[in-house]
């Protein structure tokens, strides 16, 4: 608990930097700040699930869809205030997360990946089955207005950036607290060795389900933010590509690390825009130019994995520890799953760790 004020302080400083940037940069950069905040919220939840509790999910895009559709429907039909909608969207996703978590707690490794992959593909497709409610392929329109007290000339994207960044920061602070609480310690114990954790009196299944609920809730919040940021909720936004992009961001940033979620999100949001700008300004033909961002994405992923196996955050900590001595090394081990196989009676569990550590 002593660390709570420190974390709040960090959050306030980051918030102040975001506010300063949003005032200084153009409205499109404000929009990108909002996009990054959405991504951070979702990736932070996933990095907790995969990095701390050791469960993989290829279906967090579906949880985002739940949050986004809940938001769109509530705003459209009931026109409730956004903060209330946000809470309900999070709660609805938490319920879905619990249901999935109960099933997931029984599955490991590739089976869990397969089950969550199915969730990621199938759940958004429900929108096609009930077009009267969910708008089918066209989706639903979301109207989110800038409050009147900011004046008519206030850029709408700046307000979006503020709202999204605030929600993202609150989520990060709460997740950081969970990480350092008993719940977080239990997750790490379960991740490193389920048998040992059970012998220590930890309810393994409960810990795993809890991680799914937390992860789903974060994704639901991110979905709610995505709905107001893009102004539309359509199934085309929640394809399996989204779920995989979230996992990629978590891995690039550093699995299990919350600052890593920020680095990963920055890469995922900014690299494609930057690469497109460079390729169009160099006059590449559109068939070549349009494929370069996808290639760049792959190159970044390969480079990060080769140079920083613990992601960007792991790499940063290693650089810092090179200057400050061995003390900081323990932080790397705590924040990222260990790649070596833990001695364990249960070989299946151990080999699963290995997969997840390197996936």
């Amino acid at each position: 608990m002593r660390t709570l004020p420190r974390r709040l302080g960090v959050a306030i400083i980051v918030g102040a930097i975001v506010a300063f940037l949003s005032l200084k940069l153009n409205p499109f950069r404000d929009y990108q700040i909002a996009e990054i905040a959405v991504e951070v919220t979702a990736v932070a939840g996933l990095t907790v699930l995969t990095g701390l509790s050791g469960q993989i999910s290829l279906g967090n895009g579906a949880f985002m869809a739940v949050g986004a559709y809940t938001t769109a429907l509530l705003l459209l039909h009931l026109n409730w205030p956004f903060y209330l909608v946000l809470v309900i969207a999070a709660a609805a996703t938490a319920v879905i997360g619990a249901v999935v978590g109960i099933a997931a707690a029984r599955l490991h490794g590739p089976y869990l990946a397969g089950a969550t992959l199915m969730l990621g593909v199938a759940l958004p497709a429900i929108a096609y089955v009930y077009p009267a409610t969910f708008g089918g392929d066209q989706g639903l329109n979301v109207v989110f207005t800038t409050p009147a007290f900011l004046g008519v000339n206030f850029p709408p994207t700046r307000w979006l950036a503020w709202v999204a960044a605030l929600v993202a920061l609150i989520t990060l602070v709460l997740l950081a607290n969970l990480d350092r609480s008993r719940i977080g310690r239990n997750w790490r114990a379960v991740r490193d060795d389920e048998v040992a954790a059970a012998l220590d009196g930890i309810n393994v299944a409960a810990a795993r389900i809890r991680a799914f609920v937390v992860s789903a809730t974060s994704a639901g919040l991110a979905g709610a933010l995505l709905a107001i940021v893009t102004g539309t909720v359509a199934p085309g936004a929640f394809t399996i590509t989204l779920s995989i992009a979230l996992l990629t961001a978590a891995v690039i940033g550093g699995l299990g690390s919350l600052p890593g979620a920020l680095w990963g999100s920055l890469v995922i949001v900014l690299v494609p825009t930057y690469v497109t700008d460079v390729s169009t300004s160099h006059g590449l033909s559109s068939t070549v130019g349009s494929n370069i961002p996808i290639a760049a994405y792959g190159v970044v992923l390969i480079l990060v994995m080769l140079l920083f196996p613990h992601g960007i955050q792991g790499g940063l900590l290693r650089l810092i520890s090179a200057f400050t001595g061995p003390n900081e090394k323990s932080r790397i081990r705590r924040s990222a799953p260990t790649p070596h196989v833990t001695p364990s009676a249960d070989q299946a569990t151990a080999s699963q760790h290995e997969k997840e550590g390197t996936s």
């Binding site: 153009n26 499109f28 950069r29 989706g139 085309g236 559109s286 349009s290």
Partner: protein
């Protein structure tokens, strides 16, 4: 890649003036230049995206991903036309810079790239943004920013909301009207036959079916089968159509699924008469898809032979060397974009670019954003389209009609006259009596007022 002909445009500005003069005499409608087009006024930065020398416009297009095959040719085709215009005097001497970004048909990406174009790149207008779910993600934003949102590449009638979306204009024939025109043909020519529907399970297919049912008595329809574009297994749907004894299948499908419908029918020995909407019937795209899908299945087919006899509709002239538009676009194609196939998608991209240049010329010499909107609302000459545009202050739909055609040896051959209609269930379908326009000798439209 393409040779920029930067030095020539200044000299060619004179040609525009000449073209204007010619237009005043040759245009079928009486032409009176609006006051703002006086050639003496200096070129100014009259609106965001417009400088004394350039007009920058933007678009979102599926350059990669599932919607890319075929559709990714459209924006390069438009750009080829703009380069031709730029090299021949530009729009009142200004060069058009067309910045189209890839959204991979994902609405979230569309929202992002369109904000980049509007908020950061300061484009004058969004032109020909492709796709219904994708463009719906940005239509409110564009209208609240008062950015002209012209000639959306989708036949959804949702673009026709002049009070809610005053900046947004459709261009191609809407799917309801298309369904009505095809439906009337089916009802008249296949009396007493059993009709089956095959359609994409979204607004495109459902609007089409709505139009079809306005004309085809429900008693004639024996089976309605839908597909989702993410599932390529259409065999159950085809089997159901066969089991229902459908003798005519009307298909509102994208090209890949028209091809799958045809191949799965072949496998089952099922050979109904096929009636396919314009979107899914481009013969060149279709025959390529048929051959490549069959090859994946280990078979060899002749794509052209398989497309023979398909009935479809079209709002652009057939790709034929006797057509003045085809010859114009082929010339530009060979000069600026020879690597792309010269097919229906290319023709589409060229034609919509032509309409845009027409609208810009009508908007005046130093246009604001509002000038473009009101220029379109005053009505535009139909250009390459076979029927007139519906544009007015109360109607933002695009072209109003099409002709029925059959595919013969890889080309659509017109059957009967051009038919025009509207989106209402009771709106009549009438024969269009006006003549089609010929392509101008310069290849560039001239300012008109109608």
């Amino acid at each position: 890649m393409k040779k920029s002909q930067r030095l020539r445009w200044q000299a060619a500005a004179l040609m525009t003036a000449a073209a204007l003069g010619v237009a005043a005499c040759s245009s079928s409608s009486s032409s009176s230049a609006s006051s703002s087009t006086s050639s003496s006024a200096a070129l100014t930065a009259s609106a965001p995206g417009i400088t004394a020398t350039t007009i920058t416009i933007g678009s979102h297009q599926p350059l990669t991903g599932p919607a890319a095959p075929g559709y990714s040719e459209i924006a390069p085709a438009s750009n080829a036309y703009f380069q031709y215009v730029n090299a021949n005097g530009g729009v009142y001497g200004r060069k058009i810079i067309y910045k189209y970004l890839n959204d991979a048909y994902d609405p979230t990406t569309t929202a992002s790239v369109v904000r980049q174009l509007v908020l950061q790149d300061n484009v004058y207008a969004i032109f020909n943004g492709l796709g219904t779910p994708t463009h719906l993600a940005v239509v409110s934003f564009l209208n609240s920013e008062k950015v002209p949102d012209v000639f959306v590449a989708s036949g959804c009638d949702c673009w026709n909301q002049p009070t809610t979306y005053p900046q947004t204009f459709g261009w191609q024939l809407d799917y309801i009207s298309e369904g009505k025109i095809l439906g009337q043909y089916v009802a008249q020519h296949f009396k007493g036959k059993k009709i089956g529907f095959f359609y994409q399970d979204d607004e495109f297919g459902m609007d089409g079916v709505k139009g079809l049912l306005d004309e085809i008595p429900a008693s004639m329809v024996v089976s309605k089968q839908s597909y989702v574009p993410t599932n390529v297994n259409v065999a159950p749907a085809v089997a159901a159509l066969r089991a229902a004894g459908a003798q005519v299948v009307v298909s509102f499908s994208i090209p890949a699924f028209t091809a799958l419908l045809k191949l799965d029918s072949l496998k089952l020995g099922f050979s109904p008469t096929l009636v396919v909407s314009n979107v899914g019937s481009d013969p060149i795209t279709l025959s390529g898809l048929l051959e490549s899908f069959a090859k994946q299945g280990g078979a060899t087919v002749n794509g052209n032979a398989l497309t023979n006899g398909i009935i479809t509709d079209a709002y652009l002239p057939a790709l034929s060397t006797t057509d003045s538009w085809y010859n114009l676009f082929k010339k530009i194609h060979d000069q600026y974009d020879a690597k792309e196939p010269l097919d229906g998608n290319f023709f589409y991209g060229m034609s919509v670019a032509y309409t845009f240049v027409q609208a810009m010329l009508n908007a005046g010499r130093n246009p604001t954003r509002a000038d473009l909107v009101s220029a379109i609302q005053r009505g535009l000459p139909q250009g390459p389209m076979v029927a007139p545009f519906a544009y007015s202050s109360t109607n933002h739909l695009g072209v109003t009609g099409a002709y029925i055609g059959t595919i013969q040896n890889g080309v659509v051959v017109q059957q009967g006259s051009v038919l025009t209609t509207d989106t209402s269930a009771t709106g009549p379908i009438s024969t269009y009596t006006g003549s089609e326009e010929q392509a101008p000798a310069s290849g560039i439209p001239s300012a008109s007022s109608s």
